[in-house]
Point group: C2
Chain length 484, copies 2
């Protein structure tokens, strides 16, 4: 345990310098002049507030500024420590105020709860909401086979074509054709995960006058890419056939340009609803009539449990109104960061040009791996296994929910994908559940992060934890809910 610094100084309330600034100046001086030594811990914010007789928020402001300047930082195991006491040039008494900088850019931050979840996923929690496959489902043997195949021909890992590895795009042309989507290689752009396709669309095709219509609840709300770019989202509720597109105010469509629909028609995240064939047809007609194109996110479409999947929106003959997005993140390995977007050549070329500007293409080795998984037939072999496994896990999850939460929740039985959208019957604070679950070593995704308004739901994922762990966690969850 580090020594804790003892402070005698007091801010001067008659000084015109704001109190928080006085604290910053005093702390800077003590550190720069070497009175406080490196790695000593500062008193807690609570103690400082008490000692200086100021509001806690004043201390927070001062600490933020000191932290942004980089001379103090969060210590491991909590508290605050000094990072650097050897700034001879601090004599200038000016140093970059990084806080100004990091708030100057146009792009917004994630919601705090998303930031928290992003971090806690790498600590030792049972992950009841994670949108990833169980690592134990990674097909290590097939992967080794793929890597051996690649290694034979691999001579270097240089940059690839602006639209991505040509051989991968050729494989996609074939795979897409099987789903009824006609596309040539120039109509496909390989992206660094399908999320990047949304970022490229937001950079190239939308602006702060744009509206993105989307399912409510939706995956998109849990991500920030559109909103962080200042683009507006408009919620559309769903029924069992999917998106209720007729809620779009068509009078608004005539005056405004650059509006677009974003939908996950297959095993929707987070509700698991799939759009019916009829609804798809209607939606396409509507889209054409009102000049309102569609982003079709097919992330889960391969993960059907029973009957074969419904035809994609882009498979329709009037497909040019649809931008189709695909990925291997939900089926094979999210860490490959390989996705793709299919659209008119003009759109793909524009997105590809901007992709070259922002990251100069997706990882070549990742693209080679996906190409080889496709070309060798091992991907399709793997899909059969994954579908079977996910179906078993779904059945188990449903049993556990019925057993432990039966009276308290309602839900749809998913016919594919990862998620069960649990709605609690009694009015309940999902934030409280989130906190209580954390205390019980369970990390879950409260429904609010997917929705446009407060709801009474959580997204349960049966893809990540094995059945035993899931059952235990659902049991604990039921106890938490009874206690609340």
């Amino acid at each position: 345990m580090s020594k804790r610094i003892n402070i005698q100084w007091q801010p001067d309330k008659n000084d015109k310098t704001p109190i928080y600034k006085q604290i910053v100046n005093y702390f800077s001086m003590m550190i720069v002049e070497g009175h406080w030594s490196l790695d000593e811990n500062l008193p807690t914010q609570r103690d400082l507030a008490k000692q200086f007789n100021v509001n806690r928020s004043t201390i927070v402001s001062a600490m933020d500024e000191l932290m942004a300047s980089g001379i103090i930082e969060t210590a491991y195991g909590g508290g605050t420590k000094i990072t650097n006491n050897s700034w001879p040039l601090l004599a200038y008494s000016t140093f970059t105020n990084w806080r100004d900088f990091i708030s100057a850019g146009p792009f917004k931050s994630n919601q705090e709860i998303i930031q928290t979840i992003n971090k806690l996923e790498f600590e030792d929690y049972i992950r009841l909401g994670t949108g990833e496959l169980d690592p134990s489902l990674f097909p290590k043997k097939l992967y080794d086979e793929v890597m051996a195949n690649i290694s034979k021909d691999l001579i270097s890992l240089n940059y690839l074509e602006p639209l991505g590895l040509l051989d991968l795009r050729k494989e996609l042309v074939k795979r897409l054709a099987l789903e009824g989507i006609k596309a040539n290689e120039k109509q496909i752009l390989i992206t660094s995960g399908s999320l990047q396709a949304l970022q490229l669309i937001s950079l190239c095709m939308l602006n702060d006058q744009s509206i993105v219509y989307t399912e409510a609840p939706s995956y998109i709300k849990s991500l920030q890419v559109f909103q962080s770019s200042g683009i507006n989202l408009a919620p559309l509720s769903m029924d069992d056939d999917g998106l209720k597109y007729w809620q779009i105010n068509t009078s608004r469509l005539k005056n405004k340009r650059n509006q677009i629909i974003y939908t996950i028609p297959d095993f929707h995240n987070p509700t698991s609803v799939s759009m019916s064939s009829l609804r798809r047809e209607e939606l396409l007609k509507f889209s054409l009539k009102y000049n309102l194109p569609i982003i079709e996110d097919s992330a889960y479409s391969e993960l059907f449990f029973d009957k074969k999947k419904t035809k994609p929106l882009r498979a329709n003959s009037n497909n040019n109104n649809v931008l189709y997005i695909g990925t291997v993140s939900k089926t094979l390995a999210p860490g490959l960061r390989v996705g793709w977007i299919v659209g008119p050549e003009s759109v793909i070329e524009r997105l590809g040009d901007v992709k070259m500007q922002v990251d100069y293409g997706a990882s070549s080795i990742s693209q080679l791996i996906v190409k080889e998984f496709f070309a060798s037939g091992l991907y399709d072999k793997h899909l059969i296994m994954i579908r079977k496994e996910l179906k078993m896990r779904r059945d188990n999850a449903i049993k556990a929910i019925d057993k432990y939460l039966g009276d308290q929740v309602s839900y749809r039985i998913p016919k594919g994908g990862f998620y069960i959208w649990l709605e609690f019957k009694k009015k309940i604070s999902t934030e409280k559940i989130f906190q209580k679950a954390l205390e019980n070593n369970i990390l879950l995704n409260p429904g609010n992060i997917y929705d446009f308004e407060n709801n009474n739901c959580i997204r349960l994922s049966y893809s990540y934890e094995d059945s035993n762990t899931l059952n235990k966690a659902i049991k604990i969850l039921s106890e938490i809910i009874e206690d609340i």
Copy 2:
């Protein structure tokens, strides 16, 4: 050869509908109603202009719109063909005008010449300007060793921590320490190539009021990421010691916020100048005095030929004013798309949060490969080989230049890195050289794309083509220049 369509129709110059729109409507109708069949070639733009008695630009507008709508496309081998004649719903006579969409986003396109180079690099040209290592220098044996090591422990390829693979960041902590840079793992963000670090900075820390001061000529000018985001660049000329920072108008610094310096202090792209130790010290003092932070791009710093490299700017004790960017793209393999940025925790956390929003992290397999290259010592082994090889290639390039271009150019001898910045003594159009070289199967990078004004230079890279090929190309280049 496809059949060419024969058109009898003429636009009506008395109609209020613009001529280009009449053409769009007529073409759409002929295609939709099936008068013209799929894959038939349209007449050339020149022929259409003649036949309709309109300007060529009118035809271009009409073709652009038809192409943006996706019903015609560029045919392989030139010309224009019909892609899709089966749009029953076109009866609505509205379809998405993709052209409106692709120009609606805030992000700008690459310069046309950059787009051309990006594409031609994948055709069969001698690449005299490419900023990549020769694929034959890829260390296939070391790579196989690395892959075998990884495979032993690899169980899945899931998402990684928001800041990137922890073990990779730990390796970087050690490597950075050897260069005199103190950093902990929370001060490092792994990016999808170092270019992405610049994009994240532009999204988070700069805005359209910002100024980025940079060397002229500069790498940054050849890429668009800052400019495409509407951020202003200000050029600073160089001498043999590097960036002449004193050209910055300091009176402007006091009123404006969010200005930053971008510099490549080691073996600068494209001039090969390295900043002297003294200049680095002065620059840092200036940076602190005026609250003007620095982005230090170290892409080439490992590629020194003789004496060990100069200490990085961030190695100075007042390092917190510097954001340090690194990559393996120039030393090992650009296709891995792995870079990193080192800075204050507060900055790194902000950039990391936005990285999660735009692509959810860099490829896990790429990060594992780089980690293992570092941890095994194979990277350092490889660097020794690469330095030796590049030095030999530089020596050869200098000989060839002196032999074939001796009288016509002046240049600095690079002491590291990839580039020789050739300045022609006589006033010459580098665009003409670019075109003539293309006709001779040589792709080169004209100096204009790196500069803020026209110049008389080209960037010659000795990293990509082997010595024989380079010699031949330089000989041809000298003949081209004599002919111009």
